[in-house]
Symmetry: C2
């Protein structure tokens, strides 16, 4: 079993599904892998699905913000999706409002958001 979080690719979107509590090294590996994959695949968007996470602490919250900032610099949009209501409540109570991180209710809405953004130049009313 590898201790790296797999990065899946759907078209020009990279999909990261986080299913386990992340240890420090896994987070560092993920940041490295993700930035490399964005460059290799010319990805326009990154979706991080956290629907399996029942707890998001400040460490994971920071990781999400760091990944989003990193992707943005590389020219890619990050969307965090699948956050449970309890997680959202906890994050706000912790004072972590995930500034700069875009969110969507689920994977489908995340993909739709990226699609809309791409066609925004013509489709925005």
């Amino acid at each position: 079993m590898t201790d790296r979080v797999p990065i899946l690719k759907i078209g020009d979107v990279l999909l990261v599904s986080i299913q386990t509590d992340l240890e420090d090294q896994m987070v560092l590996d993920l940041q490295e892998d993700l930035s490399q994959r964005i460059v290799d695949t010319n990805a326009r968007g990154v979706i991080i699905d956290i629907s399996a996470l029942e707890i998001v602490d400040s460490f994971v919250g920071r990781m999400l913000a760091t990944n989003a900032a990193m992707s943005r610099i590389l020219g890619s949009t990050t969307i965090v999706c699948g956050m449970r209501p309890a997680v959202a409540i906890t994050l706000v109570e912790l004072g972590l409002s995930l500034n700069g991180v875009r969110t969507a209710l689920n994977l489908e809405q995340g993909l739709a958001l990226l699609r809309n953004e791409r066609t925004a130049g013509t489709a925005r009313p």
Copy 2:
């Protein structure tokens, strides 16, 4: 942390990304969750991504075959994708040729396979 494998949804395709060694109870839960989700969402296809698995033993091999058979009965097509070359070698050496399980090289090809199948009536030469 939940001990259930999350099932993501993209259109009418369900996506299961297996990232950890599955214990018996997780496999049973996954089968139950997956069949329920197929019925609830009217899913036409199921993609099981095993790119994170370095080892697939006979237990996981059987699980893949069982899930594929179960989905087929419910009217859905299962595609296993992302198998590592070493895993394929081991499976064949174990005598597990995953009969009845359709495979694809990666998630994108799996999604393409499902798309083609859906339009097969008109597109097949």
